[in-house]
């Protein structure tokens, strides 16, 4: 039951471990063979791609199981096996095709746009939604990844995101400021609020050794309740609307839509470009800056870092503050980019998803960016699947979680697909370290 359209063709048989002897890649082999050889060794890219395939396959099983009609055809499987197989195939292919159309592009829409019956906006709509959903995930993914590289397991991304949302939201509707300045200050307020929230666990870790996993988990709960308290304050609550919702963010503080001139329905906003800049910034910080050198050294071997004269405790605080700031920007992106007001659940699970994105991106900035795009696509496509095929949005969350589980347990993927082991334990290192 291979079904999904975007499957990166694992059809080629594993180049049955090169014929002569068992050595590294044969030198004389043609380029193509060598490419396949490396593709089939358990490198990060292959494992990730296959983890996605595996997750989609399990998702397909869930689709079949959770659909009453299809399930019914299995009642007479032995009488008419064709029915069950056809029904399953149709259900799965329809679901994943809808997912694809909702996340990337609808081929039909291109046709309609070309012959004039449809709009170009409909063509770009899905990718716009994907980018919109990806933008905050880039920030929260970076927030987790950066801390991870510094040797800290930042489970508090969610709380820091919520604080960022609060900071940006309050700055967005409380400060009467001119256009550009207002947006910049609102983003800044979000980042600072997130950073301040993360400073606590950082300083506690540095001064008392309190484990950041414990403190940040607790602060997540505090943040979730704190936002509710903020919203019902008289200076925040929007009396004119039903329920606990704050005043709307001023127009001047909203992240402008990038293609609003083409169609107001294209929601993709400036946030994705800010996110891109953040990825480049974090990549520079990690690889080119002195602070990044310290951060990586502390993350990999704090003892050696200390002996080399680095301040391990100072680095912990700094890492948490920067990570919190990034998470805060993620929250700000949600409020200033799509939500435009504070509600208790405004941050959704952007922070928690960021942890998955950070892990899937192997704690590398550009890896995080790619993972955020994937998760954004799954979410955008998942919404389409829910409306178009009637499949619960929760399925997407299951698939997201499964991908990360498979990435975190590469042995499983390797065993399933018979990949050759490679020496460096980097992949398993990502999720199996730091505690």
């Amino acid at each position: 039951m291979t079904s999904d359209p975007a499957e990166p063709a694992p059809a080629e048989p594993a180049p049955s471990t090169p014929a002569p002897a068992s050595g590294p890649a044969p030198d004389s082999a043609r380029w193509g063979t060598r490419f396949l050889y490396h593709l089939w060794s358990a490198n990060a890219f292959t494992v990730t791609a296959l983890a996605i395939v595996l997750a989609l396959l399990i998702g397909a099983v869930l689709i079949v199981v959770s659909d009453a009609e299809v399930r019914a055809t299995y009642g007479y499987l032995f009488a008419r096996p064709g029915d069950a197989l056809t029904a399953s195939w149709e259900r799965i292919s329809d679901a994943y095709a809808t997912l694809f159309r909702g996340a990337v592009v609808d081929p039909g829409a291109i046709g309609r746009a070309l012959d004039g019956t449809g709009s170009w906006a409909a063509v770009f709509g899905p990718s716009s939604e994907t980018l919109t959903a990806a933008a905050p995930l880039v920030f929260t993914g970076l927030a987790f990844a950066l801390a991870f590289r510094g040797g800290l397991f930042n489970i508090g991304v969610q709380g820091q995101t919520i604080l960022g949302a609060i900071g940006a939201g309050l700055a967005g509707f409380l400060l009467p400021l001119p256009v550009l300045l207002h947006l910049v200050l609102a983003l800044l307020a979000g980042g600072l609020a997130g950073a301040a929230w993360a400073f606590g666990p950082g300083i506690l870790k540095a001064r008392t050794g309190a484990h950041e996993v414990i403190t940040t988990i607790m602060l997540n709960s505090v943040a979730a309740i704190f936002i509710g308290w903020v919203i019902i304050q008289s200076w925040a609550l929007d009396q004119s609307r039903q329920g606990a919702i704050s005043h709307p963010v001023d127009q001047s503080a909203r992240l402008p839509r990038l293609f609003g001139w083409l169609d107001p329905g294209l929601r993709v906003h400036l946030g994705i470009l800010v996110a891109l800049a953040a990825v480049a910034g974090v990549a520079w910080l990690l690889n080119r800056s002195s602070v990044g050198f310290e951060l990586r050294a502390v993350g990999l071997n704090p003892q050696a870092a200390r002996v080399a004269g680095m301040s391990v405790t100072g680095t912990y605080v700094l890492v948490m503050v920067i990570a919190g700031g990034l998470a805060g920007l993620g929250g700000a992106t949600v409020v200033l980019g799509t939500a435009y007001a504070l509600t208790t659940l405004v941050a959704g699970s952007v922070g928690f998803d960021g942890i998955l994105v950070g892990l899937l991106g192997r704690a590398k900035p550009w890896g995080v960016f790619a993972a955020a795009l994937l998760f954004g696509a799954l979410q955008a496509g998942g919404r389409a699947m829910q409306t178009g095929s009637g499949i619960s949005l929760e399925l997407v969350q299951v698939i997201q979680a499964l991908i990360v589980i498979f990435v975190a347990a590469p042995a499983l993927v390797k065993a399933t697909f018979g990949l050759r082991a490679i020496r460096i334990g980097r992949i398993s290192g990502v999720a199996a370290r730091g505690w």
Binding site: R288, S290, G309
Partner: protein
């Protein structure tokens, strides 16, 4: 990788057979094959004319082979008896199967008396000195009724006196008809006790010879070329005092006084060697000097300026070079490349970088230079340090410290676990550094190393400088001092 290549080794009954080779020569692999921890690809093990297959240590023990590991496999909070019975627990039987401690205790007493291995069966292991802990390991093996004992680098952690005791125990075992395989890289001990010596290099047997072979010949067989074990050096040209330590007191992690009122002076152009059995405060002394451990009392000053309150970074930047004693934990970030490790403590200083950014070109270029100069064997300066052998990792650390201008060079256990070739190289570098006028503080638990390199030898015992003697003091005398004795002979 092929670690053992067609090795033939025969051990006669009642023989002490030394297995000599550098680190990575394949000694440990060979013994792990014998002990059932590693399965051979081909070849066989024959005991008393009977072919045996060892798939697990249990098989080996049943076949009469016992092993004492280099790192003791003891539970520190258990008593001697409990440790000995561990793994072969006897019970009173019945459904409850309560442990029969009394019988085990009797067995310990019996075995330790039989071979002259004195020990208190009820003592808690962590309270006992290392030498006694090793005896427990030996007794543990002996209670399993083995005929062949494998001792893996047994003398690495012992004082000279304890080594003598161990050699006596080995002779007693030999007299009782046991065979012993004695793995080591220390030539002196091999010559002192072995009946036959097998030298292994690169996974192959180079030669099997008798103890009449000279140390130089044995070293040449181990390394594959002739090496000079003696360090060639001129008398020291003493300069100004560089490092002055006065009344220094330092605590260890558990709050015990590890360094107690230590006074030291190291002059420019001399090597002050600190001899002592590991765990007598050397580690804490060095860490206090480097600002890595709080000073409880006393002063440390560098060229007359107090280092009190200075952070490690400031000390390193005051032209102090530091080789920490544990290279894999303290000295290197193993996942970092060789190039990154070469700037691990100077990454934010010109020419390698500024406070804000790294100059990656300068780092790469300097790495290529230093890798060549210090003969670091690596596939590339961009290879992770973890891919290098221990000797080459240590060369990276030494290269990092000795390629910047220094006034003080602190080297703790600079050659621990290295092969003869690397040791020779690092010794030359240390003497060279002394000759250009750097003050060198050398800490080593290898007495030979201290005696060969130092211009003055300070013996450290229980946190204090027990004596300062010239390097031509007979090693027996220094050994006695290391065990807390005094040169006039009476035990402390």
């Amino acid at each position: 990788m092929l670690a053992n290549d067609h090795i033939d080794l025969t051990v006669e009954p009642g023989e002490i057979h030394a297995l000599l080779g550098e680190n990575g020569a394949g000694k440990s692999t060979l013994m792990n094959v014998l002990y059932g921890l590693v399965q051979p690809d081909q070849g066989e093990i024959v005991i008393d004319g009977r072919r045996v297959e060892c798939h697990a240590p249990q098989d080996a023990i049943e076949a009469g082979i016992g092993m004492v590991h280099q790192h003791f496999m003891l539970v520190p909070v258990f008593t001697v008896t409990e440790n000995v019975m561990l793994g072969a627990e006897q019970t009173h039987g019945g459904p409850v199967a309560a442990l029969d401690r009394r019988r085990a205790r009797e067995r310990v007493v019996e075995v330790s008396r039989e071979y002259g291995l004195a020990m208190d069966p009820d003592a808690i292991v962590e309270d006992l000195p290392v030498g006694v802990q090793q005896r427990i390991e030996i007794v543990k093996v002996l209670t399993r009724e083995v005929d062949l004992l494998i001792l893996d680098e047994p003398t690495a952690v012992l004082t000279p006196q304890e080594i003598d005791d161990l050699l006596a125990v080995m002779r007693a075992l030999q007299a009782a008809g046991k065979s012993i395989v004695f793995i080591t890289h220390k030539l002196r001990e091999v010559k002192a006790i072995a009946d036959r010596i097998t030298v292994i290099r690169g996974g192959r047997v180079v030669a099997t010879t008798g103890p009449e072979t000279s140390e130089d010949e044995l070293a040449a067989m181990m390394v594959g070329r002739s090496v000079s074990l003696a360090v060639d050096k001129q008398p020291a040209q003493l300069g100004e005092p560089v490092l002055e330590v006065a009344g220094l007191a330092v605590d260890d992690e558990r709050g015990h006084r590890a360094v107690d009122r230590v006074d030291l002076t190291v002059h420019a152009g001399e090597v002050l060697g600190i001899a002592g059995v590991q765990g007598n405060g050397q580690t804490e002394l060095v860490e206090a000097i480097m600002g890595l451990r709080p000073v409880v009392a006393g002063t440390v000053s560098l060229r007359g300026r107090s280092l009190a309150g200075r952070r490690t970074k400031q000390i390193l930047h005051s032209r102090v070079g530091y080789v920490p004693e544990d290279r894999s934990v303290d000295g290197l970030v193993k996942e970092f490349t060789v190039a990154e490790n070469l700037v691990l403590n100077m990454y934010d200083t010109e020419p390698f970088g500024t406070r804000f950014m790294l100059h990656r070109d300068a780092i790469t270029k300097s790495a290529a230079d230093r890798v060549a100069r210090f003969d670091v064997r690596t596939s590339s300066p961009q290879a992770p340090a973890a891919t290098l052998s221990g000797g080459n990792q240590q060369k990276v650390i030494v290269a990092r410290e000795l390629t910047r201008p220094l006034t003080l060079f602190v080297a703790a256990q600079p050659t621990r676990g290295l092969d003869v070739g690397s040791i020779e190289f690092i010794h030359r570098q240390i003497i060279h550094e002394r000759d250009v006028g750097t003050a060198v503080l050398l800490v080593s638990s290898e007495l030979e190393e201290v005696l060969a390199l130092a211009d003055r030898v300070a013996v450290m015992y229980r946190g204090r400088i027990h004596a300062v003697v010239p390097p031509d003091t007979p090693r027996e005398e220094v050994g006695l001092l290391m065990a807390g004795g005094s040169t006039s002979g009476e035990p402390a």
